[in-house]
């Protein structure tokens, strides 16, 4: 059992993990205070013959303290979260140099559309790879999630990225991988009987390898 997050591999991981640990510590303190308090009270004030409870109806001071402390703490957590949220999902958060991809999401496949050699999406030299997303390291990428049937959710645990793909909505998600390697993509929203197997992989290449892969694939796609 572990409350440590698995290793992250994107630029979001640092911020999200930090917030997570901040909340973990704060809630951990609250948890210990309450549980230990309950235990101590349960033992210390257990019924014994000849004892009578103290008639206490409450305390305004105590009420103010335990209204204010959680309220202030929570608002601070809220404000800390707000900045990170805006950076990740905010309206204009997508970096201009992000590589665009189109992802056609259907029961139960991820079809990733890549720009062809012309560097433009939506042209005839685009090519599609099923269930494989190839991206370069240290470069933001932007995915346009196009759901074709029901709601799916694009989830890469290692990148701390999750975004629902909703039919009929223009949904874009971006991230920047920081480690070369191979990671799993999962569907996180119940989408039918094959939901559990709606798995794909993302391959993070070095810049050179990515170019190489891209030109190989484009050539192969051209042949067909």
């Amino acid at each position: 059992m572990s409350w440590i997050l698995p290793p992250g591999a994107s630029t979001f991981a640092g911020d999200i993990d930090f917030l997570y640990y901040v909340i973990l510590v704060i809630t951990g303190i609250a948890f210990v205070v309450v549980e230990v308090g309950l235990l101590v009270f349960a033992i210390k004030y257990r019924a014994r013959p000849g004892r009578k409870a103290q008639y206490i109806e409450g305390s305004i001071k105590a009420e103010i303290i335990w209204t204010a402390v959680p309220a202030v703490t929570l608002v601070i957590i809220g404000l800390m979260s707000g900045g990170v949220w805006n950076h990740i999902k905010g309206r204009n958060s997508i970096p201009p140099n992000a590589i665009p991809y189109e992802v056609h999401v259907k029961q139960f496949e991820w079809n990733f559309t890549y720009r062809g050699p012309d560097g433009q999406l939506g042209t005839s030299d685009d090519f599609i790879v099923r269930n494989q997303l190839h991206i370069p390291v240290n470069r933001p990428v932007e995915l346009q999630l196009i759901a074709e049937d029901v709601i799916h959710s694009f989830f890469v645990p290692a990148f701390r990225v999750k975004q629902d793909a909703v039919p009929g909505m223009d949904i874009r998600v971006w991230f920047e991988a920081t480690k070369v390697g191979e990671y799993e993509i999962a569907c996180a929203e119940l989408c039918g009987l094959g939901h559990y197997r709606m798995r794909a992989r993302v391959f993070v290449h070095s810049a050179e390898d990515y170019q190489q892969w891209l030109s190989d694939r484009a050539a192969a796609a051209d042949e067909e």
């Binding site: 259907k106 029961q107 139960f108 496949e109 079809n111 790879v129 099923r130 009987l193 094959g194 197997r197």
Partner: protein
């Protein structure tokens, strides 16, 4: 047009909602002998250069890719030496009225190497269609027919069999696998047993017919339909050739 919910609920409550409901004209006549012994056999030809079948990207399905040593393609138009396979041939006119015997043997369709085998299958109304999975991974079989009940079932493991029975004739019931977008199959549901699917060599045989003149139709998923007339004597046989393409 969507099915009216009441019908479906009521049927289910009455216990006849299961796949075994309404075996149609075949129910009581299962034991009747064939109406005759005549047969029609023939050939489906394809003229000219067959269109190339698209390659399938099975890289994320290694278990299936391993079954296709020479790179999997999707056999949409399957031509061998000018012979066209996967053409559904059936008698459409000239038959005496039923009831027709329903075969007790099920028709079968298998999922093997992430492809349907066969790609086109014929089944009689009331006859069982056995769907099997030979791949060690999830397939689902989704059929959205217009005349029959819709179904969408899964087979997560190898060796599984599901039986379905169709209650109304329909040309054709499309099958697809949502897990593998390229997987398509077609089931021709006919109210009589006089149908066949052309084999890899393009040949087909329809037997058990009484004497008469029949109109026969051939259906292909992308190349359309063709029909022809043929006359057979009692216990005799006749030949018929369909030509697509060219």
């Amino acid at each position: 047009m969507r099915r009216f919910w009441v019908t479906s609920c009521l049927f289910a409550f009455l216990g006849c909602g299961g796949g075994d409901g309404g075996s149609g004209g075949g129910g009581g006549a299962a034991e009747t002998a064939p109406l005759g012994n005549a047969s029609i056999s023939g050939m489906v030809m394809f003229l000219g250069d067959a269109p190339a079948n698209p390659a399938i990207d099975m890289s994320e399905e290694p278990e299936c890719a391993a079954k296709h040593t020479d790179g999997p393609t999707n056999p949409i138009v399957s031509v061998t030496d000018g012979h066209l396979a996967n053409v559904f041939v059936r008698v459409v006119g000239g038959l005496p009225g039923g009831p027709y015997p329903v075969p007790s043997e099920p028709a079968t369709i298998d999922q093997n190497g992430c492809l349907y085998v066969p790609r086109v299958v014929g089944v009689m109304v009331g006859q069982t269609l056995a769907i099997t999975n030979s791949d060690p991974l999830l397939h689902n079989i989704k059929a959205v027919p217009t005349e029959n009940r819709l179904f969408n079932i899964s087979q997560p493991r190898a060796g599984m069999t599901s039986n379905r029975i169709f209650t109304a004739p329909e040309i054709m019931v499309p099958f697809e696998c949502s897990v593998h977008g390229w997987m398509n199959a077609y089931a021709g549901v006919v109210e009589h047993p006089y149908f066949a699917v052309s084999g890899a060599d393009g040949s087909f045989t329809i037997s058990g017919l009484p004497a008469g003149t029949y109109q026969v139709e051939a259906w292909h998923e992308t190349l359309g339909t063709q029909s022809g007339d043929v006359t057979v004597e009692a216990d005799g046989s006749a030949t018929l050739t369909f030509t697509f393409g060219g």
